[in-house]
Subunit: 149 residues, 2 copies
Amino acid sequence: MKFTTKSEYGLKATMDLAENFGRGPRTIRSIAENQGIPENYLEQLLSTLRRAGLVKSIRGAQGGYMLAGSPKEITIGEIIRTLEGSVAPKNCVDDENPEVCERAESCVTRMVWERLKDSINEVLDSITLYDLCEEAKKMCSANSFMYYI
Amino acid sequence: MKFTTKSEYGLKATMDLAENFGRGPRTIRSIAENQGIPENYLEQLLSTLRRAGLVKSIRGAQGGYMLAGSPKEITIGEIIRTLEGSVAPKNCVDDENPEVCERAESCVTRMVWERLKDSINEVLDSITLYDLCEEAKKMCSANSFMYYI
DNA sequence: GAAAAGCCTAGAAAATTACTTGGGATTTGT
DNA sequence: ACAAATCCCAAGTAATTTTCTAGGCTTTTC
């Protein structure tokens, strides 16, 4: 029951974009270096997010990536579902490409996966990039407070 | 973000034991056939559940597996955590063998994984094998109702 | 027109999951 | 005492998925 690095990298990258929101495009390279993500792999993830309409890109020199909307409008649920495909813990409850189960027995356990999926989505959809940025700021100031005493 | 077949097989197997609770041991073979699970693989899973104290076994002819306690006492959280190792969506929030992250940045996303983990555990710990058995009965009678009309 | 970017596809490498094999060890019934 | 039924265990293989790399193409700026 693990999220893959796609979620982790995707969150880090979009957080990076959120922190630089309104300041022009950021290149894949700078995000990758800043966040410690393999450049070509990140490229694929950002491409996926772009196709989903969560970020937008500017091609050519001086180009790069930006959030498609304000950090307050983008939930991490959108980001993670886009990158992972779905948060369904089992394919039989995957909304996109559901996999029908043959045994009646499965239907009871299926209820479990359904409830889990809902609960995961609820958590993820309740957090925006803005929320995370605020948390990051708090943490940062808490840290420097500790540091200078 | 998928659960592996371990969870699925483990739930099906323990549901099978729960439905037969109090009626003596069930063999691996009969569970495997009944639930459509590869026999030798199921053996490994039941072994893991036994070591965790969730089921108990009787060796030798006429032996088999039984639940270690009543279906009302066993939550599916215990079963799934035992088989999957943990429901932590990322290793950095795995209680058993936590993986320390180096970057301060990660700590914000870490909060996300932490909340998810709690939410997943909450759902799984709120459902007992007994609950699932009741649901199964309900479904079964609903189905036969449909069938005979 | 050269450099700096994003765009795209295919595939290699690594990791994990799912399953298989085969040889024990225990218990029961004859 | 022995055969059959059953659990126990460890190692190995196959399949799948994830992660990353390579390389060529397109667009934009200077």
